[in-house]
């Protein structure tokens, strides 16, 4: 036997001059001998490509025509291989009274075979037949899962998909109106779909691609249609961003914590004055008094004046003035200390507190004394109290303030991320309002 010549050329179509038997329009076969059915571009009749007479298999009744977004015959470079668009079908499914239609493009390369592009509302997928079998996995929550190649895919929807419009050529017997039970499982950006007919189940695997990539591959004019809503396997654009922001948050929190610690470590927290006093309204002729002088050292920083009383179901109002003995500068403020307790049907309760702390900021170093003037109800019993003055006290409030404010951007992004997901799942069989 002689080997065939090193290369033989397969002609573009086996029969020269193909014409539609229904309307006479010229036909072109792009898929060589793989094409089983071809649709007349003029009268849209479905013809048997394997029949020399191109027997009409199905006639087209409706008036509406659909122009595929990728024109038939277009060639594009996709992942290093040239593909030609040879077929187009529109399929539809019904859910909750609404009909959803999407387009499917059959791409052909005489060596590498077939692949499919699906398009719905501006969302594109690159789909190939899968010749391996996804395995059922554990159901997480209510949703079944299948596993393939180490990835778990979540069931999104099961629906009956019907072919409503066909154009071009197909390597299988296609008819308008035929329908299959389709199940979709997602692991964004990938999707696994199974289509079941009585004789076999076919799996395919798809990956979400942007309209821009499709337009660039096929050098199509204009811009691709803008995507509407969130598609089943559309990757969540906020996952990376949210992860990045939380990572940064952890770093910033650490820095804030370091500042807090530094604040504690380097603060003097020095007690400069402590004294016990007593006061009873109306007893002494003059309620006000001054404390002995004390030194406030170091840089201009805070001063904390705390008042600890033995008040019980009573109040005292303290007028304070922290006065610099040399400069005559005073910091004048008032503090109300009140404390009430009791028991009622719900148990014991308390209101207020018997002690109070006031922190004054930016007090320069110097020699100071306190002027104190307490006020109380004329007829109440006396109050015993202790005044304590500390210089350069640390405080943790700034840390909490910063920690909470820094939380806002990552928390907001996480909210948006989950909002995207709930938008995605709104179209599934698992939508809260009851899909399907």
């Amino acid at each position: 036997m002689t080997p065939a010549s090193s290369t033989t050329r397969i002609p573009g179509s086996t029969v020269k001059g193909l014409n539609c038997p229904n309307c006479g329009a010229a036909l072109q076969i792009r898929g060589f001998e793989h094409t089983l059915t071809v649709v007349c571009p003029q009268c849209l009749s479905v013809l048997d490509a394997k029949d020399p007479n191109l027997q009409v298999l199905q006639k087209f009744e409706s008036k509406t025509r659909i122009a595929p977004l990728i024109p038939l015959g277009s060639r594009g470079l996709w992942h290093g291989t040239v593909y030609e668009t040879i077929g187009y079908q529109q399929r539809s499914t019904e859910a909750g009274g609404t009909v959803y239609s999407w387009g499917e493009y059959l791409l052909f390369n005489p060596y590498k075979g077939f692949r499919y592009f699906t398009e719905y509302n501006g969302h594109w997928n690159d789909v190939r037949t899968l010749r391996a079998l996804p395995q059922p996995g554990f159901a997480i929550g209510r949703k079944p899962h299948v596993n393939f190649a180490g990835t778990s895919y979540t069931h999104f929807a099961t629906a009956q998909a019907s072919t409503t419009y066909v154009l071009g050529e197909f390597p299988w017997q296609i008819r308008r109106g035929e329908s299959v039970a389709a199940k979709d499982y997602v692991a964004p950006p990938k999707i696994l779909s199974s289509e079941a007919t009585p004789s076999e189940t076919v799996w395919s695997i798809g990956e979400y691609v942007s309209g821009a990539e499709v337009w660039q591959a096929f050098k199509l004019p204009g811009a691709p249609p803008r995507p509407l809503g969130v598609y089943l396997n559309q990757p969540n654009p906020l996952v990376e961003k949210s992860k990045g922001l939380w990572r940064l948050y952890r770093i910033f929190l650490l820095i804030a914590f370091a500042l807090l610690l530094a604040g504690y470590v380097f603060s003097g927290n020095q007690e400069v004055f402590r004294q016990h006093y007593a006061f009873a309204a109306g007893v002494q002729p003059e309620a006000s008094f001054v404390t002995p002088a004390f030194d406030l050292k170091g840089r201009t920083t805070n001063v904390e004046i705390s008042t600890k009383t033995d008040l019980a179901n009573n109040w005292t109002y303290f007028n304070f003035a922290l006065i610099n003995e040399e400069t005559g500068q005073a910091y004048d403020f008032g503090r109300e200390v009140s404390y009430y307790t009791g028991r009622d049907s719900d148990g014991s309760w308390s209101e207020g507190a018997p002690s109070d702390t006031a922190t004054i900021s930016a007090v320069p170093a110097g020699r100071y004394y306190l002027r104190v003037e307490p006020e109380m109800d004329r007829n109440s019993r006396s109050v015993d109290y202790e005044i304590r003055v500390r210089r350069d006290v640390p405080r943790s409030s700034w840390f909490w303030f910063v920690a909470i404010l820094l939380l806002i951007p990552p928390a907001w992004t996480t909210f948006r991320r989950f909002s995207f997901e709930s938008q995605r799942w709104r179209e599934s069989d698992y939508a809260p309002t009851g899909g399907d």
Binding site: S288, V290, E325, G328, Y331, S361, E373, V402
Partner: protein, 64 residues
Amino acid sequence: MRHPLYLLYALMLLGVMGLAEYNGLPFLGARTNEVKNVPKTVRDNPGAYRSIYGGYYSHYVGGK
């Protein structure tokens, strides 16, 4: 650099916190009126203290 806005925002907040920590600024400090030119006589006579000295009211205001 990713997330430049967040970085800026964080630097501002941490900057404010750093300054506050350094200056000992309390987060919720007591509201004080700053009174200037308190005379030395208050030391001996605290009852004569008035919380309005110097500044706009550099003269004695109020009752007798």
